[in-house]
């Protein structure tokens, strides 16, 4: 079984991206053998009130059992606590926050309060380090990438916080993992979409040093073609159990255990 924790629905504002509809996403999942996807509403990452996209996301996911909604939550917008409550009530696997796109201080008090609220609700908080390669971003796309220091600070902010960090590279992951206590590091999951395979072998190295239990399958589709994350796994010499851990088990047990 394969679960993609980093998929999107909806248009991207900075370039034309094909296959952003639910049907197209499902076809892409079929193409590469992904059974289920955690889906975020891409346009609302850029909205002043990102939670306004959650209604559509819940309705869409309700029609398709393979899609799990990851609602957006902006801790600076009044009513954000209800988003957390809604997410728990609707069985969302996580809530997402993209503070640098929201114009929030990612190391600020609002984020720490949000992380604590998610921790108290036993709801993982999902954050993307980036959505595109910094070298190719649109001139108007100026949100900074998520700093590693922010992830370290958030995981320390509340003992129940669990984070899913997507689109991180090897250096970022190592900085956070080895800059955290083992207890803190055990509450962070990393998706593999931005981690390089051979010949640099960053993913192989991280699986050996950080541990297989910390990684989940993510693709970033449709901004990225999902074949990449599958190819990364195919290039590794993983046992059946290790591969299952990355492709579904870690997401289904470690993260969804509430």
């Amino acid at each position: 079984m394969r679960v993609d924790v980093a998929a999107f629905l909806g248009a991207y504002p900075f370039r034309r991206v094909p296959a952003t509809s639910p049907d197209a996403l499902l076809r892409a999942m079929d193409r590469v053998g992904i059974d289920e996807a955690w889906v975020s509403h891409l346009p609302s990452v850029f909205w002043r009130a990102p939670a306004e996209g959650n209604g559509w996301l819940y309705e869409t996911a309700a029609r398709e059992r393979r899609l799990w909604p990851v609602p957006a939550v902006h801790p600076g917008v009044p009513g954000w606590e209800e988003v957390i409550g809604d997410a728990v009530a609707r069985g969302a696997p996580a809530a997402r926050c993209d503070p640098t796109y929201y114009g929030l201080d990612p190391a600020g008090a609002e984020l720490r309060v949000l992380a604590a609220a998610c921790g108290a609700a036993r709801l993982p908080l999902l954050m993307a380090v980036r959505l595109e390669d910094a070298r190719q971003r649109h001139p108007g796309d100026r949100a900074p990438e998520l700093p590693a220091a922010v992830v370290r600070a958030l995981i320390r902010s509340h003992a129940d916080v669990r984070l899913v960090v997507t689109h991180a590279d090897r250096a970022f992951i190592e900085e956070v993992h080895f800059g955290s206590t083992p207890e803190e590091a055990a509450r962070i999951w990393w998706d593999i979409t931005w981690v390089w395979g051979p010949p640099e072998d960053h993913l192989e190295t991280l699986l050996a040093t950080v541990g297989v239990d910390r990684f989940v399958l993510g693709t970033g589709q449709p901004l990225r073609i999902p074949e990449t994350s599958i190819a990364k796994c195919d290039l590794l010499d993983l046992t059946v159990a290790q591969r299952a851990a990355i492709e579904s088990h870690n997401a289904l047990t470690g993260l969804q255990a509430r």
Partner: protein, 266 residues
């Protein structure tokens, strides 16, 4: 057959202590992917004794010698581009002659001098004489200079290609960073410029845009520093193209622009 037209190898006189592992990893991953031939370059000392993109003449020779040695060790798997620094014109021309005579099959221009600079003309004239392609490192839509390299973009490469219509040029790593849409718009009408699909970028829509811009006959498959993304793009193309067109991208287009006999099926 599958030709990776954009590969790199390392050697002992680089800053990397893990150079043997990286070389072995490339060959091992190539076996899994099904790569028949890695067409590679070595950029001098990779920064140890001169900058990666501005290699000194001694480092150019050092890197090219290391690649020739790898070719000798793996004659069935590795072919070479001779890397040159066109700021040293006489040395570059001599190095091209030396390394092509020794079996290399193309010329690598990294980022030592802007692609539209007249200093590149003697290099391209050698490429025409020897009927080899030129792989030009490209920053897709360079808006300003970046540290450590005098990067070129598609506009500059196309200006060079227009001056040398009989030479096939390869626009490096369309997925290697920068605005690839801009590059594709520029190379559309430059019929002697081929698009190398390598690079870590795997953007949704990029491969469709490549096909729309230059057609399947001007696409070349490659990996550069990330073989996982190269394999992913190949898998995606398997769904997008007919088997006959896929063969063009996998090796037949490459076989057309590299010297006859460069690859096993030629």
């Amino acid at each position: 057959m599958l030709i990776d037209i954009h590969a790199h190898f390392y050697h002992e006189r680089t800053p990397r202590a893990d150079w043997r592992e990286r070389n072995a990893s490339r060959l091992r991953a190539g076996d899994k992917i099904g790569i028949t031939i890695h067409v590679a370059s070595v950029l001098g000392s990779w920064g140890r004794t001169s900058p990666i993109y501005f290699p000194s003449p001694p480092d150019v020779e050092l890197g090219n010698d290391a690649l020739l040695e790898l070719e000798r060790l793996h004659p069935d798997r590795i072919r070479g581009y001779v890397t040159v620094n066109p700021n040293y014109t006489a040395h570059a021309c001599a190095e091209i002659a030396r390394c092509l005579d020794a079996g290399m099959i193309g010329i690598k221009l990294a980022a030592s001098r802007r692609a539209d600079d007249p200093l590149l003309d003697p290099v391209c004239e050698r490429a025409r004489e020897r009927r080899v392609p030129v792989l030009q490192h490209v920053w897709q839509h360079r808006r300003h200079d970046w540290p450590g390299q005098e990067a070129s973009d598609a506009v500059e490469l196309c200006a060079l290609a227009a001056r040398h219509p009989d030479v096939p040029f390869i626009l490096a790593h369309i997925g290697g960073g920068g605005d690839w849409q801009r590059s594709l718009a520029v190379v559309r009408g430059a019929t002697n410029v081929y698009v190398d699909l390598s690079g870590s970028g795997v953007d949704g829509g990029m491969l469709e845009s490549c096909l729309a811009a230059v057609g399947v006959e001007r696409l070349l498959w490659g990996t550069d520093l990330t073989m996982d993304t190269g394999w992913a793009k190949l898998r995606y193309l398997e769904r997008l193209l007919s088997p006959a067109d896929l063969e063009l991208v996998k090796w037949k287009n490459a076989a057309r622009i590299f010297p006859r006999g460069a690859f096993p099926a030629d």
